[in-house]
Amino acid sequence: MGEGARRLRLPTTGSFTSPLHAPRTAAVLGLALGLTFTVCFLTGLLSHLHQHPIGWLTLPSRPAGLYRLSQGAHVITGVASIPLLLAKLWTVYPHLWARPVLASPAHALERLSLAALVGGSLFLLFTGTINIAYWYEPMRFSFTAGHYWAAWITMGGLLVHVGAKVTTTRLALSKRSPDRHGPAGDGLSRRGFLTAVGLTSGVLVVAIAGQTVGALRRISVLAPRRPDAGPQGYPVNRTAAQAGIDAGGADERRFLLSVEGDVRRPLTLDLAQLRAMPQREVTLPISCVEGWSFSARWTGVPVTALLALAGAADGSGATVESMEAEGAYRTSPLNRLQARDPDTLLALQLDGQPLALDHGFPLRLIAPNRPGVQQTKWVRRIVVA
């Protein structure tokens, strides 16, 4: 009876007896997470800037594969962080039950910032993971906005935490660490625990990286995407049916592309005229924000040629518009560097064949260093600005 009553009591920091709940374990995991979260934050920031351009910062159109690398790294690093975060939080879990709960105003501020850091870290990895798994029900809000702003709060919490712990961490990782030769438990040693956590990150990376690293595509059995399956052998983010485009709407006999806006000679071109223009062939990736990508050979008309034909001023940017009736990605902006890149095409062909309807038939945008959602499909208008 007495035993039962004691067990119902809330734990305190001292209730947890594993020697793994030690600063040195927390320090190693903390360093690893500091690294992975920084990678995720910077790559996420880059992706955000692509999708929400700011006036004074013109993103370059080169290197062509940068967005593919950066967003692939974002998702892979995020997934690799799952074991690191769970292990870290398990290691420091006893501190959740520290008494007194709030010892001083400074302690209260530190715990509040920890709530931001821990809360934000769990929120980010959870929403990121379910987003790449296409499980949207728990997120009845804009994933991109929620994930992005939570990242700022989390990184702020991380900076506070680094300030609070830098002295302890340096000591914990040094030869003078008081728990360097901690009491051996009867289970995993610290080295064993950290190795197991690292291996788990490795298992997850191999299990998903094949959605962007082609060589791993066969063994990445838990990847939400395959880079080698779909119409013409490639996956699509949105099918024509999902976008509300049918074969009638994309009828090539009635198709007309218009180039308008800030131009001297507004153009209206049909498919025969587009096919008669000098064609350019480029090998460029489609790199989705969800971290999957594939590279393919595209053939079509350079946007620079169309802008020149229409008499657009040098240094013009443009907005590319789809036939889609609605949707956040119905249009996409080309800044002046992207618009003038010779490899920015309105593609008519994929690997030498006319585009499949799901890949944007009759005409789609393909440009270097750009999120897949901005490689607008079913293009029907370019508005120069």
């Binding site: 074991p83 289970g187 395959r226």
Partner: protein
Amino acid sequence: MSATPSSTPVAYPEGRSRWFWPGLVVGGMVMAVGVRGLIVNRAALMATNPPGWLGLWLGANLVHDLVLVPAVLAVGLAVRRLVPAPVRAVVQAGLLCSAVVVLYALPLVLGLGSTGGNDTILPRDYGRGLFFVLAVVAVVTAAAALFVSRRPRE
């Protein structure tokens, strides 16, 4: 003090790091950017489900702190009682890896994602994929346990 060998353990410092307040100021400003973003974009964040964003934040944390970690601790206690000492560490490592992989794979395996009629989304048999990964982890764990249990004790 300078005569102390560099590997002599010293105690963790008491009190607050001198970097605490600078960190709080800089980190606080970065956090403020995030909070401002949430407020400015509150329409997108609360459009269809007013408590959605905050609810998921709090919910994920409550589930982690009050369900997930206690469950891990309970399994840890059971392993300590049931698994003999020589192979215990190996079993703990195998369970750790398997549990995290399951946690990641659950939405895929349960088919919670919505493909919207797009066949290129979630194209694999994720139940089979998870089984494959867990089988690899189990085989490696068993091999390591066998190796450890045959090693002569010192």
